[in-house]
């Protein structure tokens, strides 16, 4: 297939793939809206809509690090947590100061959450991105634990003078009597007034897709993938390894922060423990099952794996066990020459081009 590898052919293929992702999201939104209008959506499922959006965004964010940058982050729930709590604090403070409309509160919360998560990403990225592979994974894990521990003893309140912080208890915040406590240590953020909507979630997904797909198909994205494929060769070609890894990592953190704010503003309370190591692994399962580096796969896997457990509640005990087995089997299968060859043949047959047309 000579023209398949030409520059134009490849570019067309990439933009087509990107369009498919937008298409899936729009169809997903349309179907849900129609079903909802017809009253065919159960309450449990309706409650899952915003978490689905948040998890899709998380999966996209993690896939940027794992699939495109080729590093494993085990602390992505930490970034989500930073976004969630800063978002909740900002939204709560705005509410206290008389901003009652949901849309501006949500937008500001998402932006602030994303900025703070991005700042955390820079902070953690500086030491981490000089390391490689397993070290990076373990340090991101450590970071997630640190965030969880710190949030567990953080108290935040708001009064007419502004925000008050304490790391010991509520009394030490020096808040005026008419103030409101926003974050109450291990009990987490309390009395959140919900602001997230399904539409907002969908818009955020589209925005995130736009950012990621443009990043991946840019010069920067190619540099990031070059580092992933061969760090030494990329370095020898004059690519600043740390800089490009940092771009991917911080972008991913920003997106995770936005997802966190969206997620948190869907509930009335949210505890720091929600964003523990298990959540990081859950998102990793989405990415692995959907296919590492495959954004479409991440979207579908995140949506399905958030909905399915709701439908099969009686098998709840086996849920994490199944996830564990999925992780192991997918990894062994994708690294097995025979299965890979078989898969290539299979996809070749389906697309009508016999003999391994997979051009990945």
């Amino acid at each position: 297939m000579p023209n398949k590898n030409t520059f134009l052919g490849k570019a067309n293929k990439n933009s087509l793939k990107g369009l498919i992702n937008y298409g899936i999201i729009v169809v997903f939104f349309a179907v849900i809206t129609i079903v909802k209008g017809a009253g065919g959506l159960s309450n449990a499922l309706e409650g899952q809509l915003i978490p689905i959006c948040a998890y899709i965004i998380m999966a996209l964010s993690l896939n940027l690090v794992v699939g495109i940058s080729g590093e494993l982050s085990l602390g992505h729930a930490g970034f989500m947590s930073v976004g969630a709590f800063t978002g909740v604090i900002v939204a709560g403070a705005m509410k206290y100061h008389g901003v009652n409309a949901n849309a501006p509160r949500l937008i500001v919360a998402i932006i602030v959450g994303a900025i703070f998560a991005g700042a955390a990403g820079i902070l953690i990225g500086i030491p981490v991105l000089r390391l490689r592979g397993d070290y990076l994974a373990i340090v991101t894990l450590a970071f997630g634990e640190i965030i969880k521990n710190v949030l567990n003893c953080l108290y935040v309140g708001v009064d007419a003078k502004g925000l008050h912080f304490s790391v010991t208890d509520e009394v030490h915040m020096d808040m005026a009597a008419n103030g409101t406590t926003l974050v109450r240590g291990p009990m987490g953020a309390v009395g959140i007034s919900k602001a997230s909507t399904f539409l907002a979630g969908i818009i955020l997904i589209v925005l995130v897709l736009f950012v990621i797909q443009n990043l991946v198909n840019s010069r920067t994205g190619r540099a990031i993938m070059a580092i992933r494929d061969n760090r030494i060769a990329a370095e020898a070609s004059g690519i600043n390894v740390t800089k490009y890894k940092m771009i991917a990592f911080v972008t991913s953190a920003v997106i995770a922060g936005a997802a966190g704010a969206l997620y948190a503003l869907n509930y009335s309370t949210i505890v720091p423990k929600k964003f523990d190591f298990n959540t990081s692994i859950l998102v990793l399962v989405f990415v692995v099952l959907g296919g590492i580096g495959n954004m479409t796969g991440s979207i579908i896997a995140a949506a399905l794996l958030t909905v399915l457990p709701e439908l099969f509640r009686q098998f709840q005990d086996y849920r994490m066990l199944v996830y564990a087995i999925v992780l192991i089997l997918v990894m062994i299968a994708t690294n097995n020459e025979r299965i890979r060859a078989f898969w290539k043949k299979l996809t070749g047959v389906f697309s009508g081009k016999k003999g391994g047309a997979a051009n990945e």
Partner: protein, 295 residues
Amino acid sequence: MLNYLISGISLGSVYAIIALGYTMVYGIAKMLNFAHGDVIMVGGYAAFCAGTYLGWPVPLAILFSMMICTILGIVIEKLAYKPLRSATSLAVLITAIGVSYFLQNIALLIWTSNPKAFPNMVNFIPSIVLNKGTGSEITISSTTIVTIIASILIMVALTLFTGKTKIGKAMRAVSEDKGAAQLMGINVNATISVTFAIGSGLAAIAGVLLCSAYPTLMPTTGSMPGIKAFTAAVLGGIGSIPGAMLGGILLGILEKFAQAYISTQLSDAVVFAALIVVLLVKPTGLLGKKVMEKV
């Protein structure tokens, strides 16, 4: 003050034993065996079942636990890690996380999440009381003494094993250059299996010691100490046996002091912050040696 130091060294000795398992596997198979912490948990449950349900004597229960863990370690290596020998480290790490979750959830199904009260299995020697008669008595519990002695013995034994025996030399050869070792007639797969067996056997001992000191046994018992012990291994310099020991003890002391003087809730955060600082200042760890990268 001395109190915290002693309990820190005691906890650190457990970390050291776990870290030795990490460091050996990392040194030879070049992979982070994320499931190591959960092998500890399995070791704890095995000893618990043998000791409490079956009523076996303590030495037999510990031996049984070691046997179970050794077999488990070899099986995990054969089934999950061996097919990925030539895969990227990302794939291996994800698989290891999968194995870790698998063990935790199997344990959850078998033993439920209710914590089991682990009987102290290592209080067979009398405890020592310092400053007797004065107001500030300090008791060093028998568990502490056994733990410290066990960790020192294990470290010495491992150093001798890797330095003097034929298998130990084969291990070092594999860790240095897998390809060259194979050409010299070393059975690389068997060597890696032996490494996993030793690491997992040590995990069983660590499990018994850990649960004797902190007697609640749950499916998640091993995961936190496992991660902290990896931190200890990195702190001491991964691949180095004395380094693992040093890192473990330092980390244990740091954790106990953080608990005492900063905050119990933040002690984990302090420990992990130490890891980040060490990697920033000296990425090879305290006793690790810098390895040049070959193209």
